[in-house]
């Protein structure tokens, strides 16, 4: 898949703090790309750097269709706090931003009510933003992003401070926008949020990229790597199990799992768990446990949370 954004060694230093430290990654077109990391890990800094708000210290970024290290007109972003004038009425504020996006009076009149409708704020068009609840403000932020019908949306902590229903609403909106074919880059410190809406996750810690994960079930990454299984036998059968696995050409690697008598192993791509089970039982070894291990983010994220400063 073609990528819309490519980072290479992106680095940002504030005084003695390396807010971003050599981050390289690619965002595939159409992805819902989650940037996951604890507070202060550099998520906002990364988003600010790729939109030209802050100057890079080193490294490069490149948007599809734009010059290297230049922000792209195809991208719309809300970064950190809501950047609006509390006094202005919602439609007025959208009007200002639409002017900056180059929409003429006719277009503005057509597009603004449509967008407010889409984010469920039609009834609040003539209310000042300071009278908006947190959830309404977040939805308003998304409305502002849609003015220019961008290919890429950047959202920084879009569900911050919302109640459960508000969170669900925003998530649905994000999923809907992704379904329209837009690429979405989303920063969050909520593991759960990223797992629920994202197709990809990048985990940041102290400005460094720990890993990028393709979260789609049966994703290319998963099939490519082969299945990860956890199997178990009574502890006394473990040496026999290991011996049999070593002789089986489809087993790429094994490592002890947490529970006693259990192993994690990775199979060659294209091999399935049933074939392995048949092989073992054919050799007189019966498994007490067999389960596919899903590549969940939890462990990586917990690792990122460990020994925080």
């Amino acid at each position: 898949m073609e990528s819309v954004l490519r980072l290479s060694g992106l680095t940002k230093v504030y005084g003695s703090i390396r807010a971003l430290d050599g981050v390289s990654l690619e965002v595939p077109e159409g992805a819902v790309f989650g940037l996951l990391g604890p507070n202060g890990s550099g998520k906002t800094t990364l988003l600010s750097a790729i939109t030209g708000l802050v100057h890079r210290t080193a490294g490069t970024y490149a948007w599809k269709g734009a010059a290297e290290n230049q922000p792209s007109a195809q991208v719309a972003a809300i970064i950190e706090k809501a950047n609006f004038l509390p006094k202005l009425r919602a439609e007025e504020q959208l009007g200002h931003l639409a002017r900056l996006r180059g929409l003429d009076a006719q277009k503005r009149a057509a597009v603004i009510p449509q967008i407010l409708e889409k984010v469920g704020l039609s009834g609040a068009a003539d209310r000042p933003l300071r009278a908006f609840s947190l959830g309404m403000k977040q939805r308003f932020g998304i409305a502002a992003l849609l003015l220019s019908d961008p290919r890429v949306l950047i959202l920084d902590e879009p569900t911050n401070g919302l109640d459960p229903q508000g969170i669900i609403d925003i998530r649905q909106l994000i999923v809907q926008l992704a379904a329209e074919g837009r690429t979405i880059i989303l920063a969050s410190h909520l593991l759960d949020e990223v797992e629920k809406v994202c197709t990809h996750a990048a985990i940041l810690k102290q400005g460094r990229l720990l890993e990028v994960r393709d979260l789609r079930a049966g994703s290319a990454a998963e099939t490519e790597a082969g299945l990860l299984l956890e199997i178990g036998v009574p502890p006394e059968n473990l040496p026999e199990l290991l011996r049999l696995l070593q002789q089986h050409e489809a087993v790429l690697s094994t490592q002890p799992a947490e529970a006693e008598g259990r192993l994690q192993l990775r199979l060659k791509p294209g091999t399935d768990a049933a074939a392995l089970n048949r092989y073992l039982s054919g050799n007189g070894l019966y498994l007490s446990h067999l389960q596919q291990v899903h590549t969940r983010l939890e462990t990586s994220f917990l690792k990122a949370l460990e020994d925080r400063p």
Partner: protein, 259 residues
């Protein structure tokens, strides 16, 4: 840049300080006039009734008001700085950049606003002049107007350079009261003190001293120190240069800034 300037105007419409500054400035000029003309001043140990002493023909009145009105520049300094900081406080400039504007656009629209504020200052002042002239039965002839015209231009320049200086100071401080006070104290005391203790005379080139050459004091004519009000061409050039320096430094600073 044009869209950004339009957006600034849309915001100014509902910005109370904007209207307050315009109203205060419009009221300030005739007020100073009244205070001066009802006062008796002691100059060279002589009691002077300024009203009778200063020849109040059309251009004289104008010069007088320009001198008084030039102190009102601090109102516009306050307006510009406060308006800019409100943009920063609510993250508006950050959002404008995200909406596809660039830093050059931010700087250019600020420069345009500073110029427009300066223009409105001179227009308000001229309005006050015509009002007072009518009120006191002083005739402003076409000859008066053309004699005063170059001074109106330097009056605009005076305001513009002051406001640009304030923008530059504020790009470092990002604080309305701080920037206002720095510009106020610099122009009223600090620069004068620097010039006083500096033996080299180089400090004569400092901005406020240059700018003061743009608004000749009619009091010197009253006190017999000069034949007539006149412009110092060197100081006009210096002021232009300072305007360019402040604008360029503001540009440089904004370009390097992280939002």
């Amino acid at each position: 840049m044009k869209a950004l300037l339009t957006v600034h105007f849309l915001k100014l419409r509902f910005y109370p300080l904007f209207w307050l500054v315009l109203a205060l400035y419009a009221a300030f000029v005739p007020l100073i006039f009244r205070i001066f003309f009802s006062a008796e001043l002691t100059v060279n140990e002589q009691q002077l009734d300024l009203g009778s002493f200063f020849a109040l023909d059309g251009s004289g009145l104008w010069h007088y008001l320009m001198f008084a009105g030039s102190y009102g520049v601090h109102l516009f300094v306050l307006l510009m700085v406060s308006f800019t900081n409100r943009d920063y406080r609510f993250g508006l400039r950050r959002q404008y950049l995200l909406e596809g504007q660039n830093r050059a656009g931010l700087v250019l629209s600020d420069i345009a606003l500073a110029a427009l504020f300066s223009l409105s200052a001179v227009l308000l002042l001229s309005g006050a002049t015509f009002g007072l002239a009518w009120n006191r039965g002083i005739l402003i002839s076409a000859a008066d107007m053309s004699a005063v015209f170059p001074f109106l231009l330097t009056y605009i320049l005076y305001f513009f350079v002051f406001v640009m200086m304030a923008l530059l100071v504020n790009s470092f401080l990002k604080n309305t009261a701080g920037s206002f006070l720095v510009v106020l104290f610099w122009s009223l005391f600090i620069e004068a003190v620097v010039r006083w203790i500096d033996p080299s005379g180089l400090s004569d080139f400092l901005p406020v001293n240059s700018l003061n050459g743009l608004i000749p004091s009619p009091l010197r004519v009253i006190a017999g120190g000069a034949e007539s009000v006149s412009l110092d061409a060197a100081k006009v050039m210096l002021s232009l240069m300072w305007g360019a320096v402040f604008a360029a430094a503001y540009w440089w600073r904004t370009n390097r800034e992280d939002f």
